[in-house]
Amino acid sequence: MKAVVIGPGRVGLGFAGHLLHRSGYQICFVGRRRAVAPLMAAGEYVVRLTDGHRLHEDRVSGVSAIDISCSSEVEQAIADADVVCTAVGPRALDSVAPLLARGLSAAKQQVNVIAFENAEDAGRRLRRLVAEQVGFEHAGRHGFSGAVVSRVVAHRLPPERPGDPLVLIGEPHTEFAVDAAALNHPLPRIEGLVAVDDFTAFYRRKLYRYSAGHAATAYLGQLKGYRYLHAAIRDPEIAQLVRAAVREGQAGLRAAYGPHVAGDDAEVEAIIDRFGNAELGDTVARVGRDVPRKLGPSDRLLGAARLAEHAGVAPVRLAQAAAAALCFKDGGDPPVVAPREGTASGRSRVARLLSGIGHLPPTSPLARLIQNEWQGLMDGWEDGNLMLSLEDRLWAWSSNSHAPAGRLAS
């Protein structure tokens, strides 16, 4: 069995590639020259899995890799494959679709394409993009599904020395849900594959429980000055708030899709427990980045909040997390709403922002809830400070120019 994985990043190598290898596939990775070079040199890589207590290491050996600019080679690899996986990020699907289309149109056999993109419509979108290139008849021969990835792969470590393998660090989870009706049968035999009839429900289950809690931990964690996610979730205020936010998302899921999708309290605790896995070395900076996408209308915070509202639950904690997201500093970039903007102009900017990226009408209850939470944070928030207590609204200062070479240190 042959598989092609387009996108040798954290998910492509640390999840899709790993599971394909364990299932007996011969894998060819496709990516930019710099990304595939270590695979070409080593012919293998290492996946290190940890739940915070136990460590397991797998060596994914016998892999090949092709520079994506070598179109004919890539097309041939796709044409020969039984399964093609993408893990390039939803925004890059457009750019890989023409290559994928040419490869699939040359395939004699039916191919299943699985998009590990953490996007609800990735499978449908890829099918449409391929059909635009080669026509619906050709595209229709092949299966296209998104995948709900359960594993966090936090790091892709470069080789220590030339020729050494890349090292991926992630969680041990193996499940990924695919849309049963969107793939050709028999389904590919890949460890962890779970074919579901209601893909959207399972996609949202992950997004509105795990991803919502993950993002809330990062945004509140940075607000309170923590560096690592495993430290942030140890803060009792943050843990309580994140737990409540996940339960709000869960309430929405329960009303929309039923208890089998929403899960129970034990599942919420298991999710919170995962955020405390220090072995991943995950930082609030990594988990929180790309705020505009994460505040999208159907994404983890606003999507979960909307669903909770439909279920009659006021998404107070999700709104608090969304307000914290507006304060989030992504690397060297300023927060999406500058702290020194006056409260009145800031409030209207928040309204415009939520309307623009979150499609929330400014007068909607959810928009008002987030605006109120944001305004509550404004009493004392300045660029460079951090919150000492969410409950008491106490602030502390954070200096980025610390560790100076002072008189005594020299």
Partner: protein, 280 residues
């Protein structure tokens, strides 16, 4: 990652912030060793840095000597050895603060208490040992009789003009560039008094604290500020305070130490997760 704490033997059953930091770091999978240089014979010829990061928690002579050797061997110490060594000298620290324009009460150094008598004409003074901590040996002296009662100390003494306190003292704590404020009565006697009450640090106090950090060259320290006539005065600097009263102090300290250890490992050339968004 391997981290070593140089510290005194904690009191049995003690629940210090440091004890909690050790527990958190171990929970997070870090190997943490506690070294008590006071209680061991150290073979200098065999000393070599065997940890990714050292935390100099104690400023005892033995710990400072131990840290000095580690420093000379290239060990990574989160709170720089020279800072911890020299912060024990209150004369040096006060002189540096004064030179940097940081508000400090008028300060004198004398060999014998009686040399301070003329200063009492200008009002009461605070007499403290040049090497001391946790308020030990600190006296407010109002007249010559009290001065005579002090007797001759072991070495030079530091005297500072006494400024009547306006409310509680402000304790400022810096953990990796993050500044926290706690109001506390002086002297604190009960547990509640020692814990104090957190407060939002004003811009004025923040600037003073950042200046102090810049002058002494560390981002892990504490300082005591007295407010008198609406003016702040720095009266003490501590290279590794207890952080009492800072909400989630142990968690914040552990988070900082963990990040510093990760960076130390990376800089040593080992492939470990690079902490995104963290700077050296």
């Amino acid at each position: 990652m391997k981290i070593a704490f140089l510290m005194r033997q904690p009191a049995p059953g003690g629940q210090s912030v440091t004890t909690e930091v050790l527990r958190l770091l171990r929970d997070w999978g870090t190997t943490v060793d506690v070294l008590h240089p006071e209680n061991q014979a150290t073979n200098l010829a065999e000393m070599t840095p065997s940890h990714d990061l050292y935390v100099l928690r104690s400023v005892s002579d033995a710990s400072i000597a131990h840290a000095g050797i580690l420093d000379s061997l290239g060990a990574r110490i989160i709170n720089p050895y020279p800072v911890s060594r020299d912060c024990r000298d209150k004369v040096l620290v006060t002189a540096l603060l004064l030179r940097a324009g940081i508000p400090v009460p008028g300060t004198w150094v004398v060999e014998r208490p009686t040399q301070l008598a003329p200063l009492l004409d200008g009002g009461p003074i605070v007499v403290k040992p040049t090497r001391g901590s946790q308020g030990r040996g600190v006296h407010v002296v109002w007249d010559v009789d009290e001065l005579l009662e002090l007797g001759a100390g072991d070495g030079p003494m530091l005297a500072q003009r006494f400024h009547p306190r306006q409310g509680r003292d402000r304790k400022l704590y810096c953990i990796g560039g993050q500044l926290f404020g706690v109001k506390r009565v002086w002297p604190a006697r009960t547990y509640e008094e020692k814990t104090g009450e957190p407060f939002t640090v004003t811009a004025e106090l923040r600037d003073i604290a950042l200046q102090v950090g810049a002058v002494i060259g560390t981002d892990l320290f504490g300082l005591d500020i007295v407010i008198s006539d609406d003016r702040p005065y720095v009266v003490d600097v501590n290279p590794f305070p207890g952080f009492k009263g800072v909400p989630e102090a142990a968690l914040r300290l552990a988070d900082y130490v963990y990040a510093a250890a990760a960076l130390a490992v990376i800089e040593a050339g080992q492939a470990v997760p690079r902490p995104v968004g963290l700077t050296a």
